[in-house]
Amino acid sequence: MKCTECSFEAPVEKFRYLYNARIDASISLRQCPQCQAWLATDELAGEATQKVGPGEAPWGKSAGIEGLAEDAAS
């Protein structure tokens, strides 16, 4: 896997595993041991897809039915 920020390359498990985005999705957060950026990682493909900053949710809405709840209110 290659860090999208500093291009550090190593097997995926060398990137510090932080936590999942959602347990039922294959996106997780890992940390680059070289530049320490938090990376959204596709665990199925073993690829870093992007750096993740505060407030960013590369996996979308939390649980999938927030939209439904909003509809109900409108």
């Binding site: 510090r16 940390q31 041991p33 070289q34 320490q36």
Partner: protein, 122 residues
């Protein structure tokens, strides 16, 4: 040795408050090759005073002895502190990245949040 005696030995290795005699200077010193800088050190998440267990060496080891005693089989890890001098330990492996950010939570593998560790990386 009976069960109780075996565990007593473990207990005295891990939890004996042998910190009594330490001076401020001793407390502040993190050796350049210290257990806290090693990949194989797992920090205790209950007593975050910097104690932990080695993931390679087992109880009965002694890295301060001369010659060093290595025990690699056993049911409990070798107790160490983040400030334990590991200069003589052949199993020392320096970590690529040490997390000193105490605003996140326990991570025995990566995190070292003691003030002395923060200072070491300043």
């Amino acid at each position: 040795m009976g069960r109780r005696d075996q565990w007593k030995q473990v207990q005295s290795g891990i939890y004996d408050p042998s910190l009594k005699a330490r001076t401020v200077e001793e407390r502040e010193t993190v050796p350049d090759i210290a257990c806290g800088l090693c990949k194989n050190f797992a920090e205790n998440a209950y007593a975050s005073d910097g104690r932990g267990l080695c993931r390679v060496l087992k109880i009965g080891s002694d890295i301060s002895a001369s010659p060093v005693v290595y025990v690699l089989e056993g049911e409990v890890g070798y107790p160490a502190y983040f400030t334990t001098n590991a200069a003589s330990c052949t199993h020392f492996e320096r970590m690529d990245f040490i997390d000193t950010d105490g605003s996140e939570v326990a991570d025995p593998n990566y995190r070292r949040v003691q003030r002395q560790m923060e200072n070491k990386f300043k």
